[in-house]
Amino acid sequence: MKQFIEGSHAVAEIIKRCKPGVVSAYPITPQTHIVEDLAQMVASKELNAQCVNVESEHSAASVVLGAEAAGVRSYTATSSQGLLLMAEVIFNIAGMRLPLVLTCANRAISAPINIWNDQQDVMAVRDSGWIQLFAETNQDVVDLHLQAYKIAEDPRMMVPVMVNMDGFILTHGMEVVDMPSQEEVDKFLPPYQTDYKLDVDNPKTMGYLADPDYYLEIRYILEKTLREALGVVPEVAEQFKKAFKRETFGLIEGYKLEGAEKVFVAMGSVCGSIRDVVDELRVKGEKVGLLKVICYRPFPKDAIALALSSVREVAVVDKSISLGAYGPLYTDLTSALSSSGCKIPKVSGFILGLGGRDITKKSIVDVYDRLGGKQVDCEFMGLKQELLKDCK
């Protein structure tokens, strides 16, 4: 059913339909509306779940770790500093192969403290072994959460999935969303059942100490599973399309890539603005397109290299930075291209929108205008020179 709904409410609505038995979270802007909604749903018996109000994000992640280990579908949401405080547990959840789903309302990292959107937070746990999906719209947000549980709990996977949605832009943005019904969700996502759990009738030890004789292989198996997710994510997307009669793209989505010579590569809500710019430039006769990365981990190397194989020039738009190096998406993309065996286009890297600085259509056009010129690998766009005059 179509609803005009805030992004956070949309998350809560779809999570409710996924029927988690345990929800635990710690409040942080801009994630709060999601967990407030879920708490209200529990309070009014719309959702039969245990709501655990913890004293930190570290404990929020640990509570849902424990609940998943007990074999119960669980949910948490966080943002920014909260995700960083969870980081230790985040790695642990993946290492323990627990199929948790977490929403990250992407937000900048302190210092300076800043509650607005960029994607620096998730990059801190990029290497944790989670599948990481990025939503462009609130329809994506709904559809990806539903797919997230299906992917995570797939017996071939048993890895956690993080759904990233840009803070405020999506969490507090109102959009029309086609919300699946409970019956549709029940059909798509059956109850979670597993033998891999803490069960007094079949006692297991979880969280072993693995010495150098075993650790390497255990980590390899996790890496192998993440690579296999490159097959499972699109498979689940196909099932979703069939079940809901709605487009969803799996790993990546190309927009006007046919005949494109110059292509933007980006993740998250900024792709919406880039589409508009692409449309306008196309009208002017520019051969330009967009490649949206939906699944950032595992990184769809082959799909990306193939999509860009006949492109002359690429502009990577990063909303985060590995300080002292490059934008993370830029690094991954250039690595993927260099090992693909395909012809490598010229790739430039741009940093935009940190700490909530608006990425306007003009800033995207500015990026486009830089193409054709000198190749840059980590170019900050939209800097206010008057604020930098004492910075030699």
Binding site: G21, S24, H58, A70, G71, V72, P203, T205, Y208, L209
Partner: protein
Amino acid sequence: MAETLFKPGHTACAGCGQAIGARLVLDTAGKNTIICNNTGCLEVFSTKYPESSWSVPFIHSLFENCSAVASGVEAALRFLGKKDSINVIAQAGDGGTADIGLQALSGMLERGHDVLFVCYDNEAYMNTGIQRSGLTPTLTNTTTTPTGSASTGNPRPKKPMPEIANAHGIPYVATASVGFPLDIQKKVKKALSIKGPKYMQIHVPCPLGWQHESNKTFEVAKLAVETGLYPLFEYENGQLIPRKIAVLKPVEEYLKTQGRFKHLLKNPEAMKQVQDIADANIKKYGLKAEV
């Protein structure tokens, strides 16, 4: 050997008080128990892949989060309608309880989860090599509070964890010692008969860290209690119930059994300082048996 749920073959040191304590706790709790364990000696020596000493469901996640993991397990059991038939025990060493794990423990106690938390208190970070923790006693020689011309060991008093736990208004708090196994069993049984959060702190000698012979574990543990340095008591709904001591011994009898206190024996001022701590415990908890 009597049947036990904590299987032998693990790699604990000879005379390890924690191994004895953990076995007593688990065997008292029985097979309908889920253990959530912080990082530390106990987890390391009992779960080296692919082997495990635990014949009940056991989960180790991180150093500081067993209370939160146990909260999640408990919430999941509640959701499944199975909580009444299954005990959830969170357990940690003294560092994992009083230092790095204190926040998560406080959260678990405050939220009222039906979980028994057990602190195996060997009074330092033994797993990493005998570094001082918040539960290291005053004037103890550890690798991070070494003695020297400017130091007589750990300068600070032991953090009053049972009091901190009790201040949360939880229904049951107890201290115990592997020197008194029947007392441990009695207290675990009582704790598990009570709904809500429970805190137990068990004194467990560490022959390696305390520097005593491995066959002296019980003797050393008993002396800590008999000198008043490790008071045994319960708080039942905040009501103090001490375990009285018939014959109180001077602290020297305890201190002289361990290398970690060797530097105190020829230092009358330091000896008095430790005796004062024992005397304060005896008074505070009413440990002296009336004859």
